[in-house]
Point group: C2
Chain length 295, copies 2
């Protein structure tokens, strides 16, 4: 299957599913539900849900069974974007090509809309009836760890702590920020797919290693695009990392070397897929696609 | 058992348990873990954990089995306090008798510390191994609903939306704010106890109704204490609701009538306990204690 078609068709399915589960804007308090839905439906590649579905599909065919978790991953990602964009944090005014949530709804309501999204992800994951409770518990634990103090939030904390301090960028801190802020949830996207499909421990480990290197690559490309990307394609302002004095791969290695590292990491990620005795071509194609992405 | 002794001994047990599960401040990033622990251990009555334990104890003896959930309820409550206190929200500078989280750590880090607490609550709840997964799933679902868009966050959104608008306080809006912002999580504290103890559907319903009226009473007393309470005992500034033009019971009914309503609701809450054919005296005593509380 052509990878672009795959990404497009899965994105459409996820978008439809998200629309079906989010709180209705016709219900009180309408503005609250609008604020929750605004950034979620402002665009987005839906990479995390697609990774979850693609990983699940290696082991099982009925991929719609993991939609609640695929959706939860996107909802958690969106909550983190809304909080990251706040004036007290990165103070970004454009997200997914539109004014940031706090620009449209104000700071207080943006904070609350994101809080509600985070909680709704757990409500969605725990609300399923077509997955064994033992697997539900494991998947929720996996995603909560990746989203919390030892995942997204930990990475964002160190990122915020370091920026603008004019400290020298050191590699361990850079890697801490990258693996936690972006890497953990991308890794959790594929490992959750494996958990839901009841993969063996061995298979889970390979998927986990795949996700680890994929996550690192993803963030390196993000950093590169923030320097040389196309604002229209990205849907956000570029050059912000440099303005905010952020710890990034280009800042420490330059663009050329960063690209080489990303390529090496992509190959490394794929090497773990090759250890799985099943058809892993979709994940492999996604990995290569993400390396070359321009948005 | 003397109710004050019960509250004190259970509070101590919960505090110890919380200390045992929270991220160590000796581990990197130390300041992050400090910010997470700061407001959690700044004081607090631990009412939600105690309600969970007391409800569980009606049905089963091994109450320590529900500590992860009791702790999660307190952690979620603390996250909501940190976000409520932010400059963009209620702009409160004192909490639990100490400077608010954002005063000590700054706005960005306070937002993230609270985000991490919310996520950690779900990590804790899904990390248990001594409770049946089916019950785990049900309990997580119960708490996530109470904490999210149709619970705490929904109530806070309408609260923030209405304040300072100089609109007339209307009773349906007042009740929406109260039942959602405070009521849902207090109700969830007792219903989670019932879920974990595998209570029957009938028993669950009575506990649910008990929690509903208890939650309303709790918020009415909160409103009253904000007008006539003792700042030292409360650990926060009083008169803030009036300054912020908040929708409160005293604002609509006056202090005397509000006290009468709280008393009536307490009796109503207890009437549901009486329908349960077990010893419910501890919850009954807590309900009466909360009506008369001065902090």
């Amino acid at each position: 299957m052509n990878i672009k078609n795959y990404l497009k068709s899965k994105k459409d399915e996820i978008d439809k599913y998200l629309e079906s589960i989010m709180p209705s804007e016709n219900k009180y308090p309408s503005e609250f539900h609008k604020a929750m839905n605004y950034t979620l439906f402002a665009g987005g590649k839906r990479i995390r849900p697609i990774l979850c579905i693609a990983a699940y599909s290696i082991f099982k065919k009925d991929y719609k069974k993991c939609f609640s978790y695929a959706a939860a991953l996107e909802i958690i990602h969106t909550y983190s974007l809304i909080h990251d964009d706040l004036p007290a944090m990165d103070n970004d005014t454009v997200r997914r090509g539109k004014p940031s949530n706090h620009i449209v709804f104000g700071e207080a309501k943006a904070i609350l809309a994101a809080d509600a999204l985070l909680t709704f992800a757990f409500e969605t994951m725990s609300g399923v009836s077509n997955i064994k409770p033992k697997i539900v518990q494991k998947a929720i634990h996996n995603i909560s760890k990746a989203s919390g103090y030892s995942g997204i939030v930990g990475g964002q904390f160190v990122d915020i702590d370091k920026e603008g301090k004019n400290e020298d960028v050191d590699i361990p801190t850079l890697e801490y920020i990258h693996t936690h802020k972006t890497g953990e949830l991308l890794k959790a996207s594929v490992t959750t797919g494996a958990i839901l499909a009841d993969a063996t421990n061995k298979e889970y480990k390979h998927i986990n290693n795949f996700g680890k290197w994929l996550g690192l690559t993803f963030q390196i490309i993000d950093d590169i695009l923030d320097e040389i990307g196309d604002e229209n394609k990205l849907g956000k302002k570029i050059g912000q990392d440099s303005i905010n004095n952020k710890f990034t791969y280009p800042a420490i290695y330059g663009i050329k070397k960063s690209k080489e590292i990303a390529k090496k990491y992509t190959q490394k990620s794929i090497s773990f897929l090759e250890k799985i005795d099943k058809d892993t071509s979709i994940l492999e194609n996604i990995s290569n696609f993400l390396l070359k992405r321009t948005y």
